[in-house]
Amino acid sequence: MYRTKDGGGGGSMRNEWHDLIDGYLAGEVTEEQVETLSGLLREDETARAEFIRAADLQANLAVDESLWSKSESGAPIASVSQWPRWQIAAPWGIAAALAWALVAVLTQPPGDKATVGTTKPVLGLLVDEAGAKFEEGFGPENVRFDPGDYRLQEGAIHLRLENGADVIMGSPVEFRIDDSFHFALHRGSLRAFIPPSAVGFTVAAPGIDYEDLGTEFGVSVDPESGGSELHVFDGQVDAKSPDSKQILSSVLGGEAIAFSQGSLEAGRQPNEERFLTQGRIGFLRWQQQRARMEGDPDILAYFPFEESDVLSNTAVKPVATDGEIEGARWVSGRWPGKSALLFDRDTDFVELDLPGEFEALTFAAWVKLDSLDLPLNSLFNSNGRKEGDIHWEVMQDGSMILVRRFGHERQSRLTKLKVPTGKWVHLVGTISVTERQSRVYLNGELAGVDEGPLAAMTPGTSRIGHWHPIFTNESHRRELRGRIDEFAIWNRVLTEQEIQELTEAGKPNALWSARTD
C-alpha cells in the first residue's frame, strides 16, 4: 500500500520511514517490510523516536475521547461507556475479574463519598441480567444507570444502587430513576431489598408514594387503571400521599395493600410469586445458556439435571446415552427451582454410555462438594481398566486431574488452584491428542496442565460420581460426596475464553466470586 521514494538524501529517507511506519501502524505491511522496519528501528534512535510519536498519535486519536469534546478534559469514568463494548442482546460478556470487582465495589457498605474523588459517582450498576432487552433509547449506558427513564422489554435485571439498595425487575417494566432514593414505577413490578444505608428508598406509583424503612418489598403498577399494589415481605413500608407527604398506611411484613382511584384497600396477603428474586434471574440466565449449549453441534451430551427417573441428555444431537440413576437423590441446585443430584453414599452414581473414539474432549460440570474424604473423588470415570478410558477426578487435596488411562493417574504439574468444598464451583477439563495436553479449569481459571494422551479416547460405559473397576467386587472407593446440577461433554477442546463465558453465564448469583482464596 505504500511506495518507496526513489533517490537519496535525508528528506526522502524520512519519507521512506514515514511510509513504512504508517503501513505498519495501519496493519498493512508485508513480512519483508516488517523485517526492514525492525532493522531500521534497531539501528536508529531517531527512527525509533519517530515511530513512537506516530504510534502515540494514533493511540491518542483512538482512545482519548476528550480530544473530540469541547470541554477541558473528559471525566475518566466516561471511558466505562466505551469499554467493554457490550451489546445487551449478547451473553453476559464483561471480563469476569472486572465484573466481580465492580460488584464488590457496590457490595461494600458505602463509605466516605469523599474518597471517590472527583469522578462522577455511579448511581446504579446492572449486576445481573437474563436476556435483558431495553427499548431503544431507554436502556442503561452499558451497565451504568443514570437518572432517566427506562423500559425493559424482555428478560430480567438486577440493579444495585450506590446506597446498597437492590432492585429486581422482570419485563415488561417501565420505570424512572431520579436518584438512588427515588424511583418511579410506571408499569410492571419490582422487588427491592433495602439495607440500613438505603432506608427512605421511595417508589412513586400513580397518586401514591411507597417509602421503605427496610427491608424487603414489592410494588406493581397497572398502567391501564393507574392502580398499584404494595407487598411487604419483611420490615415496614409507609404509603404516603405524594403532595402532603401524609402517611396513608404503614404496611408491615406479611401484609399487602392495593391502591386505586384514590382509595386504599388493606388486609391483603403478599404474593411472593409475582415478584422476581435474584435467584430467579440466575435461573433464567441458566435457561438461556442451556438452550445455546443444547444446540451446539460439537456437544455430545448436555445434562441439565432436571428431576426425573433418568438423567436426560437433552443435546439436540446426543451422542451419549441418558444416564441411569443409581441411588443418587434429587435435591436443590444453584437456584430455587433448579434441581441437582446428591451423591453421598458409596453406591450412588449415574451410569451412561459415551460410544465412539475421540481425538479431543471437554468435560464441564457445576459441582458443590461436601467433602474430599477419599484419595480420589470421581467426577467422571470409564468403567473398568481399558486403554482409551477417561478419568476425571478431584484429589484429596483439591487438585483436579483428567487423564486417558494407561498406567497410573499422574499429579498435574501446576495445581495452584484447589477445588473448594461447600460452594458451587465450575469445573472443566479438556483433553486432546493433537495438543498432547490435558488442562483443568476451576471457575474459568486454568488450574492444572498435564501431558496428554498419545492415542484416541474411548470413554465407553462410564459413571458420574463413581468408578466401577468391574473385575473386583470392592468399589475401589472413588465416590463423590457432593452435588452436581449440570454436566456437559463436547468433542473438542474449549478455549479459555469459552470456558470463562460458561462460568460467567452459570454463576449462581451476582455476588458469587470466582476467586476461591
Binding site: 498519535l57 491518542n60 473530540w68 471511558s79 461494600q108
Partner: protein, 182 residues
C-alpha cells in the same frame, strides 16, 4: 489507608479505590500498550488482561505514588506476551520491542505535551478531514467503510488519512517549537 507493619502488609487498596484508579489510568495504559500493539481492539483486550494481574498484585502498589506508571509495567508485560503469541513474521523483533518500550518510557513527558497540543491541532483541521480521522480512529470504521461514507476509493482514503496525520504532526511540532522559544 491502613498502616503497614513489618510483619504483614494489609491490603492497602479497597475494591472501590482500585476501580477508580484503574478507570482513571485506563487511557494511559492503552497509550503505552499501543506503541507495541497498534491495533486498538487488541490493545483493549491486553489492558483488560492487565486489570486482572493488577488486582492480584494490588498490595504491591504504594498509594503515595501515581498509579499509571506502576500499572503500565503489567500492561506492557501483557503486551509482550501477546506479541509472542503472534506469528514471528508479523511482528517486530523481540529486541526491537524492548528498545521501543524503553525509549517510550523515557519520552513520556514529551508525548504528554504533544497530546495536549493534539487537541488544539484537531480544531484546526478542515471539517471533512476531522470527521474522517474521528471516524477511522475513534469510531473504528475501516478504510473500506470510510470509502463508502466519504465517496472516495480506499487508496484515496488511506492517502487522505496519511496527509491528515502529517498535518497534525506538523502542527504539533510548531507548537512544541513555540513553547521552547518562550
Amino acid at each position: 489507608m491502613a498502616e503497614k507493619s513489618p510483619e504483614s502488609t494489609p491490603r492497602t487498596c479497597s475494591h472501590r479505590e482500585f476501580i477508580r484508579l484503574f478507570l482513571e489510568s485506563e487511557r494511559e495504559l492503552l497509550r503505552y500498550v499501543m506503541v507495541l500493539v497498534p491495533n486498538v481492539s487488541d490493545a483493549r483486550d491486553i489492558v483488560q488482561e492487565a486489570a486482572v494481574a493488577l488486582w492480584e498484585k494490588i498490595d504491591q502498589y504504594d498509594p503515595e505514588k501515581p498509579f499509571a506508571p506502576w500499572a503500565c509495567r503489567f500492561a506492557l508485560n501483557e503486551a509482550r506476551m501477546f506479541l509472542r503469541k503472534q506469528a514471528r513474521q508479523q511482528r517486530l523483533a523481540e529486541e526491537v520491542v524492548e528498545l521501543v518500550e524503553a525509549q517510550r518510557l523515557q519520552m513520556t513527558a514529551e508525548l504528554d505535551q504533544r497530546r495536549d497540543h493534539l487537541k488544539d491541532c484537531l480544531q484546526t483541521l478542515p471539517v471533512r478531514q476531522g470527521e474522517m480521522v474521528r471516524a477511522h480512529y475513534f469510531d473504528e470504521l475501516s478504510t473500506e467503510e470510510l470509502s463508502g461514507r466519504f465517496g472516495k476509493s480506499v487508496e484515496a482514503v488511506y492517502k487522505a488519512l496519511q496527509r491528515t496525520r502529517q498535518a497534525l504532526q506538523n502542527c504539533i511540532e510548531q507548537k512544541m517549537a513555540a513553547e521552547v522559544g518562550r
